[in-house]
Symmetry: D2
């Protein structure tokens, strides 16, 4: 094993860190001021996008990036340490055109889009000209079990007619959002894993209505986690993404790298929380000592450190497995890292908040917002319980195959 | 021991439950609609107050309530089961004139106010005509150690001149808030526990400025958890509450019953969360079963039940101890229950949210708001770590007194 | 509610505490010396039994004790605080004829034995002349689900013929053990809950063979947790206890009070561990402070205190419910307390051991032995998971009955 | 990063696994039978040692192994995956001459012994002809703080005179144990970190007395965790190891690789526990399902998997850091892995035991013994709390250096 990051990756890290310090952080206050006033800070982000792209910090997330596509082509394990750095400022990924759900959508289009679909949607996404959302989760069914998805995509002549209610549709309120990749049932009677398809729905299609922007633990995201109603929305049959009945498979394919990105951003966020926690503990006094002198707070700091380090290694291994053996080979690994990262996220943030005292609850530190995102991580791409189930069933499957292999370890008396 | 609630208390519970169902819950949607629109729903609350008072559900929290004061006099252990019921709807306590921090302020005034102070402030508070806030916590010091409080109250002739910055001043934005009980240093050189005093500050006194309403984990309370600046605020010397230098003692005296109320409301909120969790688990299906059929979710439900029951008993015992032996005798007990209740609050709510899936993050259930209040409970009236310290030092003090008493239990070989 | 113990119970506590200090603890070293040498310290125990009985500290556990039966009749909630005191010395319950499984067996016989059975078995048990064991758990099935019990009790003329393998049969190696209450299947085709019966098996019946004494986490109990084989053991038909097919019901009836006893002994053991932990923390120094000065160790002490107190209240309430409404009414409560007590037991003991450093692992303190018993508590009378299931299913059952009752708490937008 | 094990290491793993299956496991029952009868199974072990050595599976732990020394030279990160495999059978490390504390002692001697000391002690240790122990921990002081060590090593002419009481001296009862590396104070008035020295004490020196073999949570190790008294033991001055006053530094130097070994054995033990747990869950039924169908047990399995994987990566990284940058560079890392491994060990084993039901408590599976070793791991080479302190102080040290670096992340309103 070799735990060193390759030199070029270390150089990219250096450049990205410098960019964050020199360009992103100085814009953070103004970004929040505008958001508080209710508008998407497009001008800030557009300016930073230009700068980032000029420095090659663009589309870093796509291992399959073609030479004629804009951006820097990196393997998953090369991008992961960069995603970690982006995780320190919640809104920064977009600056590098690396934000969810556009990344996952670009991946899907990269893999499955027709030439026409590529021209119309993928290219402007890669250029950062438009944004997109992903219509998956539904309020009325347990979407954790994707076969429950109930929205319908009915073929009608040359068109598909779409009906359904989606929610937690992230990005739908982004001023540049033009596309929704929509999942629904095309074959009501089909096998549970072959009933669904995906279609490309322009956001301005008649019948698409954003009902509301859902607060997440009272946090309202300016780009929106929206409830969206699709009523008799017609799109050309050519808007089908991939083959009919392949929606479930596409959804699976989409998840792997995106989960790595989420997890690495979580790790970056946790590192920041740990830094903040340490500084606070060193600077605050109670009962005649600094907080850093109290053994219980030391314990939180130490546990945060060892938990973050372990989680990062697990995520990096998953990214490496994808690069070595393909996304499918890492299926269980990406369930594992989602699980680990969500736990880490809320646990470390909760401790950091506790060290800050009541201030930790306020918007004066980024901790409350970061925690909120961590709480959402416990559901994002499937709740913890589904990932636990995936990991356990895989483990039990292996055990079933080698059933009896542990016999030699028992010491039951001979007579039985 | 006798674990039954006395018949009169059970009857009060029945009346209060009926009131909540017939009057409070039906008004809940409108209450939230108005709050979302940014205004305090005074009309709703005033109407409900009249009804509640007419039914004797008024000022239930004050064991020392005099016959000529409005309300129903109850012991702490009699009121506690009623506070639990109020805990099911965050804003309902005010309907019964039992909301913090007015309750604590009324207690303080009841114990220490001069006849003039009683007429001007206590009486209208007991009548529910005005509201009040409590200026204690400061952003610039660890207020968990109350001796850190740094705001100043300087005697100047017939007046006190007040300077300082307080935050988490709850109720300051209530449209009827007229009074702040303010804690600050009167004797800079005094002993740590004799340096502080409390004065009564009218909210309309020149120099009192509400800087902002602090979001708590992104939740904005309409009555306000405010940052308030006091700059050269002059109040008559007669506004001193109790004796000079007794601020710390008053702060201690104020805390006991209030903590019982908070804890019982927590228990009521947790019962509601458990009910919601069970209903959701029974009604939602994934992977061919209801969520209620999954053993992990059953475990959460069972643990929530046993944890809630244990916490309630501990809180009731603390209330009973106060009634039997006075608030001072329950000092360590009220630290213990604060600790237990805050842990319970976030743990049970977190599990309930998890059962709800992403919906649990939204405002469509009360869970997110209740959780938020629970997170604040970890700091309210002192962070968990201070309460742990209080309980541990008490326990170690007892151990120190009986040092050596465990000698008979050791089995070290004789030679040593 | 009234949290005070009645005066007579407080007096009994005082007498029992004095007895423990004056008689039991001084004999503890010799007791262990003899056990280490491999023999049951009959002489010590018999001497103490005589003394205890003379003082009225005898058969304190049996609320139904008749006036002509030896001992002091107490309600469950009166005996519970005494069991707590006995819990401080693992072997002391027998001194007061209050040790498991004899207590449960005496209860069963008290409820269901024929006059002949009472004379032959119950009377000498009450006198402390003989000891008994309970043949329930089997190695080859998950006995957590009692309907799995597979041993057979076949009617053959005037006799029953018994076959099966039991384990964790406590007391089977006690030199005075004369009786096994044996559970097995009498009606193979019967309904799952009506297939089993109990019979009284003399330990000297041909075909009863003690195979081995099972170490429990390497601890070997001198009275035995035995694996016992019953091969074609014949007993008279008159040895049936209660009616045929009622074994499951008898097993249920037997459990309630016994669980209260176990739980209260756990609480006594945890109190002792907390005392030891505090003394150690006060007396040991590292890095320039006593261990008691470290905030992490203070946290353990504080949490132990609040957890013990909560658990005790829950157990006392279960005992009180039994006294008020009968054992059946407390069925779910005794599942809850078993669960809570087992968790408490290992958690508090583990912390105490940690404070002692490596010494905590050795037999020089009672901690290792007490922990071991706590680990067994997680299985005793059913594993935690079965108790969690019982509590959850009860809670879900209540929720199912009031389904829809939480509707008023939802704030889903009107359109859905 | 590269998470693949090098091909030669994979081959060694294959050979070692085959050896375990073909030679070690078949001898396991007889090994335990002999140990239960009270004798060290020398013949078994010696036979296996010969076979292992013949296959090059010998002295795999020593990166500095010289060409003329017996064994296979491996880097720490190459040996670690082999230690994991050895961890599956508690007594197997000795077969490969890789057992603690001999490994640590050989390391110390390899680094610091004089030529004479090498000939007399190191060579026969490397040959596996003799065994050794390490006299460090003392019952009367908190040895977690090594500066507390109080045994004395007094210079007297050409000799040192040794006095003190040590305990948890592992291996002292091994029939071939000939040497104790003893730590004590040579300079009572010296600086805390320069007061101690180490000397080589022959086990047959007059005045060395093994007082007893300490049971660890009731488990008695046949090789002994002994309490040993040294009374006026005289050894030649030439028996000093390294320089006078360097005992503390030597103790530090000794710990790094040994902790990696312990941690990897823990991981191997946890993998075995997980295998056993899965097989049991698949094979056992309750309430109409296999245990593997219950979601709570699935959760335990999944969490065990992700925790083991994370821990292994952390340990491997520490081993890699040692290889790349030296043992000193990994000082904090080896504290971190000790912490993580001890937690993992008891947590995973506890879950496995729970899946086994009461059988998990018995010696019929290896789980109880493995758990016991895990509990000891929480103290071995320093209690968890010392490692937490080490990690936290390091982290705080880094934070102190970059104090203020997080300023840009705060959003406190401008006026303050």
């Amino acid at each position: 094993m070799d735990f060193a990051l390759p030199e070029p990756v270390q150089q990219l890290q250096g450049r990205l860190r410098a960019f964050m310090e020199q360009h992103v952080l100085p814009a953070d206050a103004e970004w929040h001021r505008l958001v508080a006033a209710g508008s998407y800070p497009l001008a800030i982000v557009d300016d930073l996008k230009r700068k980032a792209r000029a420095l090659g910090l663009w589309n870093l997330f796509l291992p399959g990036l073609a030479p004629d596509e804009p951006g820097t082509r990196l393997a998953n394990a090369e991008y992961a340490p960069l995603a970690e750095i982006m995780g320190r400022v919640s809104w920064s990924s977009e600056v590098f055109n690396c934000n969810a759900p556009d990344t996952g959508n670009m991946e899907l289009l990269h893999l499955f889009a027709t030439p026409e679909q590529r021209t119309r949607w993928l290219r402007p996404l890669l250029e950062g000209e438009i944004r997109s959302c992903f219509g998956m989760t539904e309020p009325d069914v347990a979407s954790s079990d994707a076969t429950n998805i109930a929205a319908t995509i009915r073929r009608d002549g040359d068109a598909y007619v779409i009906n359904g209610r989606k929610w937690f549709t992230t990005n739908a309120l982004h001023p540049n959002c033009r596309l929704c990749i929509f999942m629904g049932v095309t074959d009501v009677d089909g096998d549970a894993h072959r009933r669904h398809s995906m279609v490309l729905v322009p956001m301005d299609a008649p019948g698409v209505r954003i009902v509301r922007n859902l607060p997440v633990m009272n946090h309202v995201a300016i780009e929106g986690h929206c409830e969206v109603v699709f009523r008799d929305v017609r799109v050309p049959a050519a808007n089908l993404l991939g083959a009919e009945g392949r929606g479930f498979a596409l959804a699976q394919a989409r998840l792997g790298p995106g989960r790595v990105h989420h997890c690495m951003r979580t790790i970056g966020a946790c590192e920041l929380a740990l830094e903040l926690m340490c500084e606070r503990a060193l600077g605050r006094r109670a009962f005649g000592r600094t907080l850093a002198d109290f053994a219980n707070i030391q314990d939180w700091i130490a546990r945060a450190r060892v938990e973050i380090d372990q989680a990062r290694l697990l995520v990096m291994r998953a990214a490496w497995t994808m690069d070595q053996a393909g996304n499918a080979a890492a299926r269980v690994d990406v369930s594992a890292i989602k699980l680990v990262a969500a736990d880490l996220h809320t646990r470390v943030l909760d401790r950091a908040i506790q060290v800050f005292g009541a201030m930790g609850l306020t918007p004066d530190t980024p901790l409350a917002d970061i925690w909120t995102w961590g709480r959402a991580m416990h559901f994002l791409d499937g709740p913890d319980e589904v990932h636990l189930r995936t990991v356990a069933r895989h483990e039990l499957g292996l055990a079933r195959k080698r059933m009896g292999s542990t016999a030699a370890y028992y010491r039951t008396p001979a007579e039985r």
